[in-house]
Symmetry: C2
Subunit: 269 residues, 2 copies
C-alpha cells in the first residue's frame, strides 16, 4: 500500500475522503505488471479530478505506480488508485490549495471471476435506486452508498445486480455497465443523469460503434435477446439468467459476445 509514495496502512482521520467522499478512484486490471486500458483510466481520473477541482500530480502518480507494479509480489491483479482532496478546509468548504492524497494498492483478481466470463452469470434487479444528478453523473467519485445499498440486496445466487433510476429506467450494474441486444442492434443506457461512465464501456463503444446509447426501460430489458455486463477488471460477463421483479428470463450467449471477450483478452491497450 502506497500513500503519496510511502508504505503505510493508515491515513489521517482528517482526510476528506473519510468525511465527505471527497475524491475519485479507479480499479485497473494488471496483466504481467502492465495496467490494461491505462490511457482510458488516466483520462477518466484526470477528468474527474478536474470536475471536482482536485489537482492531480500525474508524474508522481506514474512514479508510484511504476514502483508498485515493478516490485509487487503479484504480477497479475487489480490496482486500486484513490485520489482524495486530502485534509484541511472548513467543514464542507475545501482548502484553497488542497494537498491531495494518492493511495495505490494491489489486490489479487478474485478467483471466481474467470468462470463467470466463460459460463455467464445470474443477475437480479435491485430495488435501491441510483441517485440522479447531472452534475456528478459519469464520474467515478467516492460517494458510492448507492452501490453499497444495492449490494446488500444480492443473495449468493447472483453475481451482479442491475440498478435503475428512481423512475425505473435501467442505468448500470452495481460494479459494471450493461449492454443489451434487441435482436437488431446493441443498446446501452445513457448516463447523463446517473451512473459511472466505465472505461470498459468506453472501449466497447469503440469496438461496436453502431451501439445505440439511450434511455432503456423495463419493456426493452425484458425483450432483450442477449445481455452482458462489463467492467475493466473482469471484462465481459454474459447474462444467462435475468431476474427482474417477478419476471425471469433465460438468455443465450451470442457469437459476437464471445468475439468481444476474445478481443479484450488479447487487448494490449
Amino acid at each position: 500500500m502506497l500513500v503519496n509514495g510511502q508504505h503505510q496502512e493508515t491515513i489521517a482521520i482528517s482526510d476528506r475522503a473519510l468525511h465527505y467522499g471527497d475524491g475519485v478512484f479507479e480499479t485497473v486490471l494488471v496483466r504481467a505488471r502492465q495496467p490494461v486500458l491505462w490511457s482510458r483510466h488516466l483520462q477518466r481520473l484526470q477528468h474527474g479530478c478536474q470536475r471536482l477541482q482536485i489537482p492531480l500530480d500525474t508524474a508522481c502518480l506514474h512514479t508510484e505506480m511504476a514502483e508498485l507494479l515493478d516490485t509487487h509480489a503479484l504480477t497479475h491483479g487489480v490496482l486500486k488508485i484513490l485520489i482524495s482532496r486530502g485534509s484541511g478546509g472548513r467543514g464542507y468548504m475545501p482548502p484553497a490549495t488542497p494537498t491531495p492524497t494518492r493511495m495505490l494498492q494491489m489486490h489479487p483478481l478474485p478467483e471466481d471471476y474467470p468462470q463467470y466470463s466463460a459460463r455467464g452469470i445470474q443477475v437480479m434487479r435491485c430495488q435501491h435506486p441510483l441517485s440522479l444528478n447531472p452534475a456528478l453523473a459519469g464520474l467515478k467519485h467516492l460517494n458510492r452508498l448507492d452501490q453499497v445499498m444495492a449490494s446488500l440486496e444480492l443473495t449468493p445466487a447472483f453475481q451482479e445486480g442491475l440498478m435503475c433510476r428512481p423512475d425505473g429506467l435501467l442505468i448500470e450494474g452495481i460494479k459494471s455497465n450493461v449492454f443489451l441486444h434487441d435482436g437488431r442492434q446493441w443498446l446501452t443506457p445513457d448516463l447523463q443523469h446517473a451512473g459511472v461512465a466505465g472505461v470498459m464501456r468506453d472501449w466497447l463503444l469503440q469496438q461496436i460503434p453502431q451501439t445505440r446509447v439511450r434511455a432503456l426501460g423495463e419493456n426493452e430489458v425484458l425483450a432483450a435477446t442477449e445481455m452482458f455486463v462489463c467492467n475493466s477488471v473482469f471484462g465481459i460477463w454474459p447474462i444467462t439468467q435475468l431476474h427482474w421483479g417477478s419476471h425471469m428470463r433465460q438468455l443465450a450467449i451470442g457469437e459476437q459476445t464471445r468475439q468481444l471477450q476474445a478481443l479484450f483478452e488479447g487487448c494490449r491497450e
Copy 2:
C-alpha cells in the same frame, strides 16, 4: 480524537468510509460539557445506522462521549461523531458481520458564528444541484460531494449557499435547513427526495407546529418576507440578503425569529 475508544490520529486505509462514504455522522453543539439536542441526534444516528444496516453500539458510544466531554480542554464546542461500517467485505459488498468504526472529535465553535446569529447573513443560490434519491433522502450519511461542490461556488461575501434539486426546487442550505415566511405562515421544503433532515429543523417544527412542509419553487423564494437557515450547531441565522441568480432581495429579521433564537439559547434539551 477517539477511535473506538482509543486515542489515535489515523485510521485503517481499508475503512469503508474512505472508499465508499459507507457511514453516517452527527455534529453536536456542546455547552458546558453537555451535548445539546442529544436525544434528537441519537435518534437520527440510530435511524441512519438502521437504514444502512450498520450495527450501532449505543452503550459504547455513550461511554466514549462521556470520556471525551468530561476530560476535553474545550468545555464548549462541536462534537463530531462519525460511524463507519468499518473494514472488510468484498468491494461494494459489506461484510456479513460488520465491525463499525466510531470516531469522536471535539472542535472549537468557529469564532465568527455568534455575529451571524445577531446580524444575519448573505446567502447565494448555488448552481450545483442536490442528488435526488428517495432511498437516501433525510439521512446524514457520508456521501457529501454535493455539499463540497456547492461550497466551491461560495465567495467570501456569503456565509451560506442555498441548494436546489436539479429541477430548481429549493431543498436546503449547504450546512443547514431553510425556513421562509410568506407573510402568512412559515414554510420549509419537504425532504422526501433530497436533503438532510436536520435536528434543528426537527426542533423548530415542534416550536412552530403550524409550519407548512412542502415543495418550494423560485417564485415562493423570491416572494418571501423573511428567511432563515438553521442547524444544531449555530442555531438560527437570519438571512438579510439573498442572491438568487440575477435577483437580489433584502430581508428584515422578524420578531418571531428573535424569539426562536432566544428559545434555542435557553434550550436545555
